[in-house]
């Protein structure tokens, strides 16, 4: 059970992020909640790739064959971190536009569609 703790932490962060998105009263807050939700994938990926006694998968100063953690999940994660930052920037620019055009950042009040 304890060895599965970090899987549950990933699920825990995911559900709290989702809770924030559902109950949010402010679009900026909602974007931040999405970022929180996304960090749960990092915890999950690190857990999947971790190996007891494994070191970083960089063989600059250690011989090939030394036990290392799975480099694949790290490769997935590092691109995701940078991409997530720009996607957050895109979402936040939509929030700015929503404030300019509809004069509100409350998702509840964004009900009117105008051409």
């Amino acid at each position: 059970m304890m060895l599965h703790l970090s899987y549950f932490i990933a699920g825990w962060i995911f559900l709290w992020g989702l809770y924030g998105i559902v109950t949010s009263k402010n679009l900026v807050h909602q974007v931040v909640c999405l970022a929180v939700l996304q960090t749960s994938t990092y915890v999950l990926l690190l857990t999947v790739g971790y190996k007891v006694g494994g070191t970083a998968p960089v063989f600059a100063d250690i011989p090939v064959g030394t036990p290392v953690v799975d480099p694949l999940v790290q490769a997935l994660m590092l691109t995701d971190i940078v991409v997530e930052a720009t996607v957050a920037a895109l979402l936040l620019s939509m929030v700015v536009k929503s404030n300019e055009l509809a004069n509100t950042v409350d998702p509840e009040e964004l009900r009117i569609l105008t051409g």
Partner: protein, 257 residues
């Protein structure tokens, strides 16, 4: 739906999801008990096959280079989307400027920047640029690569802005070189892949000489793609800071005149 009803519905659904997650996760191999073959195989062969000591980047820019191409274009599309949303529209501009001019001059005094911040920024800036270039160009050897180095490089204009040198910030971020770096970086990645096609092999094959393991000029296309991605990330993030700060910077520049 009222917000109370929605929250209740969410809590019920989330409780169900939590139960399913626990049931599903409990049977996974426990943390630290790594079983997948892929990690074992790739860490054994990557250094010999690709002469790159950082296996993470060997995967990113070679074994799964096609995947990274997609990720890079998500980044590109996001930046283009932000630029598109913040483009100045001709009919809004005049009225906004009138508003802004009145508001800002009354409310916002430009804050004084301390000498300590200005001097230390000038000292750190050089170090940051060198460090960013180092990280972006040594991705094949040590942890780092284009994504990380690009973000470090792109944070230098923000530092200049924080140190109060708005004019220099504007000059750097509105330079056509920024757009060239972004588009050239995104396009360059594709071009590197297409050259492989023209040479008669598969898309994004590592066709450059691999060099000696541990040298700066080793690992073939991995190093080149890393630099190209670094250019794109730098250009993209610098443009993001520019459009987000544009209105403030413009009004500050106007006040200085």
């Amino acid at each position: 739906m009222s917000s109370r009803a929605r929250t209740t519905l969410f809590l019920v659904a989330a409780a169900g999801l939590a139960v399913i997650l626990v049931l599903g996760l409990i049977d996974l191999p426990p943390m630290g008990d790594y079983r997948g073959p892929y990690g074992y195989v790739v860490t054994q062969v990557a250094v010999y096959e690709r002469h790159a000591t950082d296996v993470v980047n060997a995967i990113n820019y070679d074994y799964r280079a096609f995947d990274t191409l997609g990720e890079e274009f998500i980044l590109f599309a996001s930046v283009v989307g932000v630029l598109l949303l913040f483009r100045p529209s001709p009919n809004q501009q005049g009225e906004q400027e009138q508003q802004k001019g009145g508001d800002l001059e009354d409310d916002e005094e430009s804050l004084p920047v301390s000498d300590a911040l200005r001097v230390s920024t000038q000292v750190i800036m050089g170090v940051m640029i060198v460090f960013g270039v180092y990280i972006a160009t040594h991705g094949q050897l040590t942890p780092g690569g284009g994504f990380q180095g690009g973000v470090i490089l792109a944070s230098t204009p923000i530092l200049i802005y924080l140190a109060g040198d708005v004019r220099a910030f504007e000059k750097i971020t509105s330079s056509p070189l920024v757009k060239l770096a972004e588009c050239g970086g995104a396009g360059g990645y594709g071009v590197i892949g297409i050259i492989a096609l023209l040479a008669g092999t598969h898309f994004l094959t590592n066709y450059l000489p691999l060099g000696t393991t541990g040298d700066l000029f080793s690992s073939g296309t991995i190093a080149v793609i890393s630099v190209v991605v670094g250019l794109e990330v730098t250009g993209g993030f610098v443009q993001l800071t520019q459009v987000y700060l544009r209105e403030i910077v413009e009004s500050q520049l106007k006040r200085e005149e």
